[in-house]
């Protein structure tokens, strides 16, 4: 079973690396690049919302700040927006810090509400500020137009995000994050500084969402506040992607992103204006019948089968 899993992972990596050599069609590559971006956002959200239980309704704030960090470098200073891939994640962390330090001290829905407000505040702020070029947004002339290039950048960014998240989750920090999600009082009684650890989940979550934003700016080359700080298309979609794929699973957000983007595209091209409705209904059905998400349900099934075989309870993977 272990060898099989390892082989599967190596195969996956090999496929991911050689895929753009096989699929050369720009449209298909475009779809995959979007999936990468959404998988990064979902994986980041999942660390905080899935593992730590701190639901954010405003990850667009981090995404938008990452995107604008890249765009504004070019707009004001003529610096290559690729530096935004460095600046964006850090800028997102900086704006996450005050929210975390204040809202995480309080019990209840304060963090979720604070994040919701943060996303909207940034949207309105960026629409009205001259510095950010207001509602007109920012257009850049990309130096590189090869889709294959963006594919590999996206793949690397996603690999980094999943890798770091995996290391966090499978360490002492991960145990503490899940403990906080399961019962904050119990966690405190075990000596876990809950506010600190929630921030330790928030910071990387903001960081990688900012990275996705910067990548988006570089790839799509145009942003405006209503696109990148969008509540339903970014903040809520981040949650949907994770719920669809599997909350608190390593691969869930990536699987969720793939399904979301692909189904969205298929419906958009075949169903015309009914696509939003059908898409919405389908997502509801999936969440209703697969409450653990697709990867979550598979894990449960695997656990169930393993238990039958060993005749003992299988460990719960966190």
């Amino acid at each position: 079973m272990k060898n099989f899993n390892l082989a599967l992972k190596i195969l996956l990596v090999v496929i991911a690396v050689i895929l753009p050599l096989v699929i050369k069609a720009p449209y298909q590559l475009h779809i995959i690049i979007l999936i990468f971006i959404w998988a990064i956002i979902g994986t980041s959200w999942n660390l905080l919302g899935g593992y730590t239980g701190q639901v954010s309704f405003g990850h667009a704030a981090f995404f938008g700040v990452g995107a604008y960090a890249a765009g504004l470098l070019q707009f004001h200073l003529g610096v290559s927006p690729w530096w935004g891939m460095l600046l964006g994640p850090f800028a997102a962390m900086v704006i996450s810090l005050p929210i975390g330090l204040i809202a995480f001290r309080l019990r209840g829905p304060y963090f979720a509400l604070a994040m919701l407000a943060l996303g909207e505040i940034f949207r309105l702020l960026f629409i009205n500020l001259a510095f950010t070029n207001g509602a007109k947004g920012i257009l850049i002339m990309p130096e590189i137009t090869s889709k294959m290039f963006y594919y590999y950048v996206g793949l690397s960014a996603l690999a980094l995000t999943i890798g770091i998240t995996y290391l966090i989750v499978h360490s002492k920090i991960g145990f503490y994050l899940v403990s906080i999600r399961e019962d904050q009082d119990a966690a405190t009684s075990l000596g876990i500084p809950t506010t600190l650890y929630k921030n330790l989940a928030l910071l990387p979550s903001a960081f990688f969402t900012g990275l996705a934003g910067a990548l988006y700016m570089n790839y799509v080359a145009f942003i405006d506040p209503n696109i990148v700080f969008n509540l339903s298309n970014i903040s809520v979609m981040a949650i949907m992607v994770v719920m669809l794929g599997g909350v608190a699973t390593t691969w869930g957000p990536t699987v969720g992103a793939a399904i979301y983007i692909i189904l969205g595209e298929v419906f958009r091209t075949t169903l015309g204006s009914a696509n939003v409705l059908v898409f919405g209904v389908l997502v509801c059905l999936i969440i209703l019948f697969l409450p653990n998400g697709i990867v979550g349900e598979l894990d449960m099934l695997r656990g169930f089968l393993a238990r039958k075989k060993e005749g003992a309870a299988g460990g719960v993977k966190i």
Binding site: S171, K172, D183, S189, V316
Partner: protein, 239 residues
């Protein structure tokens, strides 16, 4: 030597004094029993010691260090472990993972935390349930898990809140046997329990409270013969 000392601690909820002007101490290696009718403030005393509630007034000392201004998570770090009367298992984690979450206080190594957890799981007789999800455990095992998880943090003082409540006589006996075993390993314990016989048998000293105030403090013999205690439990006619 006093391991823990409470000086005139008071906790008010609005107008209600759940604990008022209570002073007591716990010596190293002893079991201190806390008794009192329902709602007399026993759990509130635990919540004050473990800093889940801030004191309204008074002082708490652990090993002569003032602790009533520490953040709640520090209490475990300095060596005071607790269980909850209404158990709080980490539901979707296995028994092993629950105990590991405690063990991580003293190590960052996954391997060491697992070894430690397994040692304690065996000590508490939970080996059979190691991989069970905590939410699937029946109450007696959940209570046991509370103790195991707390032991994994290496406490010097353990606060046990109604470990036997909701257990049948046989399960209670097993729980008491575990508590004795923990004491024999050198632990200092403050225990809250409603079964008088158990409390009289296991405690070195007993603190009796009613309406948040002390009514008697001494050996089980002294306390059980104290007229105030008899009145609180049986009514005026028996005092």
């Amino acid at each position: 030597m006093s391991l823990l000392e409470a000086r005139d601690i008071t906790k008010k909820f609005g107008g209600l004094a759940a604990v008022s002007n209570l002073s007591f101490n716990v010596n190293k290696g002893e079991i201190l029993g806390v008794i009192g009718p329902n709602g007399s403030g026993k759990t509130t005393v635990f919540n004050c010691i473990s800093r889940f509630f801030p004191l309204t007034s008074g002082e708490l000392y652990f090993k002569d260090q003032r602790i009533d201004e520490l953040p709640a998570h520090k209490i475990c770090d300095i060596g005071i472990g607790r269980t909850f009367q209404v158990v709080k298992p980490l539901k979707r984690m296995s028994v092993e993972e629950n105990v590991m979450a405690g063990a991580f206080l003293r190590t960052s190594s996954m391997h060491k935390a697992r070894l430690k957890a397994n040692e304690i799981i065996e000590f508490c007789g939970l080996e059979k349930y190691k991989y069970r999800e905590a939410k699937s455990l029946p109450i007696p095992l959940r209570k046991r898990l509370e103790i195991a998880r707390s032991l994994a943090t290496d406490p010097e003082l353990l606060l046990l809140d109604e470990t036997c409540a909701g257990l049948n006589p046989k399960e209670s006996e097993e729980a008491i046997a575990l508590i004795r075993k923990i004491r024999d390993a050198g632990m200092t314990i403050i225990i809250v329990e409603h079964i008088m016989k158990v409390m009289m048998g296991i405690s070195d000293r007993i603190l009796a409270i009613n309406f948040g105030s002390m009514i008697a403090f001494g050996s089980p013999q002294e306390v059980s013969n104290h007229p105030e205690v008899i009145r609180a439990y049986l009514g005026d006619a028996y005092a």
